[in-house]
């Protein structure tokens, strides 16, 4: 996130803009695009049966002999030092094996903060972990108790007595704003963008809106608690963790504990929900250190309260969005700036302005984010970081402008659709958000919306409709590697350290390997979730599927040469080169004379080999720099607001998506719906309450932090354009995060349409409507 990075990315982009697309690695469209195969079919999840039978094994479920259990103790002040720590009672309590504090914790360097340039830098905080008596935020780990049973550890943890010497700490968002800092870049984008004279254009625009929007702290709340089971044998470490970054965590643990990378194995075959929260935090370091200290395998499963205390969530924000428009509704100025939290020991810039840069055409732009420092657990990436809440502000503002112009909000958006990146001028790889809007409006029955707010009513209920645009950038991570193995029995296996958190990654990998190799689905298996396998990138940024797909493509390009070498002179394929054959019909066939063919079985039998393997990595993701690549969406909401209580009931949602090829309609629809439901939580119920006096989270439970439940979920319709993106592997863009974007705007706009009240402060709880 430096100025140097801005220069490098900027230079690469401008150089690439002159390079013809077909010269780039992967520059010609993926040959699988448009071919009818397993991709695009509704395969059931490959892990469905074991999940419904309760046989999927999660991190806290690995049995080990001599296992002991740990519990964490958290600070109760925001900043200061530990003046007295008495652990005598805990140490002598029944079953207790060890109390870890800053006094006996081994020297361990904190993992390097997450970085775009180093895939092994996966830390969410670089504060010392039990290395000294300092406290930096309320809830920080100050001790851990290890005992023979969980009950004994939990009880002993309550016996530790700590006196603190509290220091002055800034814990108020509003007051910390004056000390805000401006960092040069947000992920790979420049932070400050100034294009034309936006303030001047805004001032002279005949129509304008200019308002502040606020969003609150949120937590991921995956239902599976953070947990790991760690075991040392000599200097070899095995960790069963629940993590979105298997390879990165293995590298970080090796570095922290001073052992070679190949002596650490991280296993995470199933992750019980992540949403950005299942990364590297202090608890993994504490548990691995404690396991080494007691010389026994150790399990640390955080309590729900501990998850809130030491795993950061989404930062609160205050955002200004201003739009100026001419008499026809064409935007002349688009301004988006604001504040969010990023403590100096954290690494997540909540990039709420990123989506605004490519959402609409405008004559001028002014975009800037400021970061404030308060004493809190470092915030991190949470499903559609940036866009989830940035689209709330932007799409509310567009709705407000439409109202001022007395124009239909869908029409206003269509009028300002960009045909290339509105600021950089880069061509879109594929962009049909206008079609998503039209298809969505038609399917939803948008024409039934009353143009005048507050005019539809059924008894005590006021009815309203609203819409909002969603977007999320395409990301393909560099460095994904896979191993592709074909066996004599006609089966194939794809292996990489990828993560399956329920996105359907494993299922879609099987589908594409079947298509690439010309095998039936039943002949393909996948191995993931193990750092001993070729390294896949982390599951984040909606990037995993295309990152792995590019590596699968590379492996599938390497495999024919290996097979031809093995086929030898007596094969019908003899004399053919790798470029002259295709993989189809469970083997290789000549591209020009399809009758010349041989199956994998026959080739391997003759060569007397059980299997052949190739390992390959995906090409560098240069398409991201040459093209503007975004998944986009149009969201529609119909809801009721009670005149008596202010209660909001959402009756219908529709998401209309433009995300390239949809690889598996069944699992994709589930992901879209899941994102939209989390969007309902963002819009209506979810809020991590920080006591501004003490910096302490006041509602660290699922009873007090309200995630959507069955009863909150309306009828949800999802549709998509299914137009392949010619610049991405399989023609696909990410779908994991787009679902949550645009929803909060659509809900807020529907509330306005129902009641005439504009709520610019999430969540829209009933008190804001009375």
């Amino acid at each position: 996130m430096s100025r140097v990075q801005n220069v490098i990315v900027g230079t690469a982009r401008s150089a690439l803009s002159w390079v013809p697309a077909q010269w780039l690695p992967g520059g010609t469209p993926d040959p699988l695009i448009g071919r009818h195969g397993e991709i695009g079919r509704q395969a059931s999840r490959i892990d469905g049966e074991i999940k419904v039978r309760g046989e999927a094994r999660f991190a806290a479920e690995v049995a080990m002999d001599g296992l002991c259990y740990a519990t964490l103790v958290h600070s109760t002040i925001a900043r200061g030092r530990i003046a007295r720590l008495d652990s005598t009672a805990a140490e002598t309590a029944p079953g207790v094996l060890l109390v870890v504090t800053h006094r006996n914790m081994p020297k361990v360097a904190s993992p390097s903060l997450v970085s775009m340039s180093d895939p092994t830098a996966v830390g969410n905080s670089d504060l010392p972990i039990l290395q000294d008596d300092r406290v930096h935020y309320n809830g920080q780990v100050v001790a851990a108790v290890v005992a023979a049973t969980q009950e004994q550890a939990d009880h002993a943890a309550t016996l530790i007595a700590i006196d603190y010497e509290a220091a002055q700490a800034e814990t108020r968002f509003g007051q910390a704003k004056s000390g805000a800092r401006i960092i040069p870049s947000l992920l790979i984008e420049r932070n400050h963008l100034s294009f034309g004279k936006a303030e001047r254009e805004l001032a002279r625009a005949p129509h304008r809106v200019d308002n502040l929007y606020r969003t609150q702290w949120q937590n991921h709340n995956a239902i599976e608690l953070h947990a790991l089971t760690a075991a040392w044998v000599g200097d070899r470490l095995t960790v069963h963790d629940t993590t979105q970054m298997i390879a990165g965590e293995a590298a970080a643990l090796a570095k922290a504990f001073g052992i070679p990378r190949d002596q650490v194995q991280v296993l995470s075959p199933f992750v019980g929900g992540g949403f950005g929260g299942k990364g590297m935090w202090d608890h993994q370091i504490v548990a691995v250190a404690a396991a080494r200290m007691v010389g026994r395998p150790l399990r640390l499963q955080l309590s729900r309260e501990s998850v809130y205390r030491i795993v950061g969530g989404r930062s609160a924000t205050e955002q200004r969005v201003a739009i100026g428009a001419d008499a026809d509704g064409c935007f002349t100025a688009l301004l988006h700036d604001g504040w969010s939290v990023m403590p100096p020991y954290g690494a997540c810039p909540e990039a709420y302005t990123l989506g605004t840069r490519s959402a609409y055409r405008a004559k001028s732009f002014e975009i800037l984010q400021r970061h404030i420092d308060i004493a809190v657990v470092p915030n991190t990436f949470m499903r559609a970081p940036g866009e989830a809440i940035g689209t709330f502000a932007l799409e509310s503002a567009v709705d407000e402008l439409a109202h001022n112009l007395a124009m239909d909000p869908v029409e206003l958006r269509l009028r300002n659709m960009p045909d290339k990146h509105p600021i950089t001028g880069a061509p879109f790889s594929q962009h049909a958000q206008d079609q998503a809007w039209r298809d969505g409006a038609a399917r939803f029955g948008w024409e039934q919306r009353a143009a005048k707010p507050g005019t539809r009513r059924e008894g005590e209920w006021r009815i309203g409709m609203g819409c909002g645009g969603g977007s999320f950038p395409y990301v393909r991570m560099p460095g994904a590697a896979v191993r592709l193995t074909v066996r004599r029995d006609g089966t194939a296996t794809l292996a990489c350290s990828g993560q399956e958190m329920g996105m359907g990654t494993a299922t879609v990998v099987v589908q594409q390997v079947a298509d690439r190799l010309g095998l039936p689905l039943s002949a393909v298996t996948v191995e993931i979730g193990d750092s001993a396998l070729p390294a896949a990138p982390m599951a984040g940024g909606s990037s995993q599927t295309v990152s792995i797909a590019a590596a699968v493509l590379a492996a599938a390009e390497k495999l024919p040469a290996e097979l031809l070498r093995l086929a030898g002179n007596s094969s019908p394929l003899s004399g053919l080169r790798a470029g002259e054959v295709r993989m189809e019909g469970e083997g290789l066939a000549s591209a020009s004379e399809p009758a010349r063919r041989e199956t994998f079985r026959a080739i391997l039998s003759r060569a007397n080999l059980e299997e052949v393997s190739v390992t390959a990595s995906g090409t560098p993701p240069l398409e991201m720099l040459k093209f503007a690549m975004h998944s986009t969406a149009a969201m529609f909401c119909e809801l009721r607001v009670s005149d008596v209580t202010g209660e909001i009931r959402v009756d219908r949602l529709l998401g209309s998506f433009d995300c390239g090829t949809i690889l598996n309609p069944r699992t994709a629809a589930s992901q879209f719906r899941g994102g939209m439901i989390m969007g309902l939580g963002l819009a209506l119920t979810e809020e991590t309450l920080l006591d501004e006096r003490s910096g302490r989270i006041m509602n660290p439970t699922l009873a007090d932090y309200h995630v959507p439940v069955h009863m909150d979920v309306p009828q949800i319709d999802v549709i998509w354009t299914d137009i392949p993106d010619p610049r991405s592997p399989l023609g696909a863009r990410g779908i994991g995060e787009i679902g949550i974007t645009g929803i909060a705007g659509a809900v807020a706009n529907a509330v306005f349409n129902a009641t005439g009240k504009r709520v610019r402060d999430l969540p829209i709880t009933l008190d804001k409507l009375l």
Binding site: S44, E55, F58, R304, M678, L702
Partner: protein, 170 residues
Amino acid sequence: MQLTINGTAHEITGDPRTSLLDFLRHDCGLTGTKKGCDHGQCGACTVLVNGQRVNSCLTLAIMQDGHEVTTIEGIGTPDAMDPLQAAFVKHDGYQCGYCTPGQICSAKGMLAEAANGWASFVSEDLDGKVELSAEEIRERMSGNLCRCGAYSNIVDAITEAMSTQTAGAE
């Protein structure tokens, strides 16, 4: 002290503070029952005790003397999934799969409650026969959280399993 889990007798000999949930997961190795909050707020630990659904984190193992507990491992057989399990697979009633055993056990208990005429908050009639509309299912399943947001598919799965069971009974 003894309880029966999925038809097998188990002795309770450990720490009296052990919840039924931890007893199942640690002492019996039945890890299909999940821990999501340990406070009765998420429903991931739902099991059936004497046929009724219970948050197993909210009761101690020693309070189950003589009781019959059914966990996800006791639903369906190795050869044939229960209709609810099959319907969850068909309708993609999960994503990460962590809340799934609790959803299925809860649905099993909920269907029995409805069959016995138990009314819910959204029932029109407190005494009549319960018709499980989608709204009724949503209300009755609201104690089982799913953060991946598979709710719509879960309701579809339960609806289908219910109709196969009804068809079977008739």
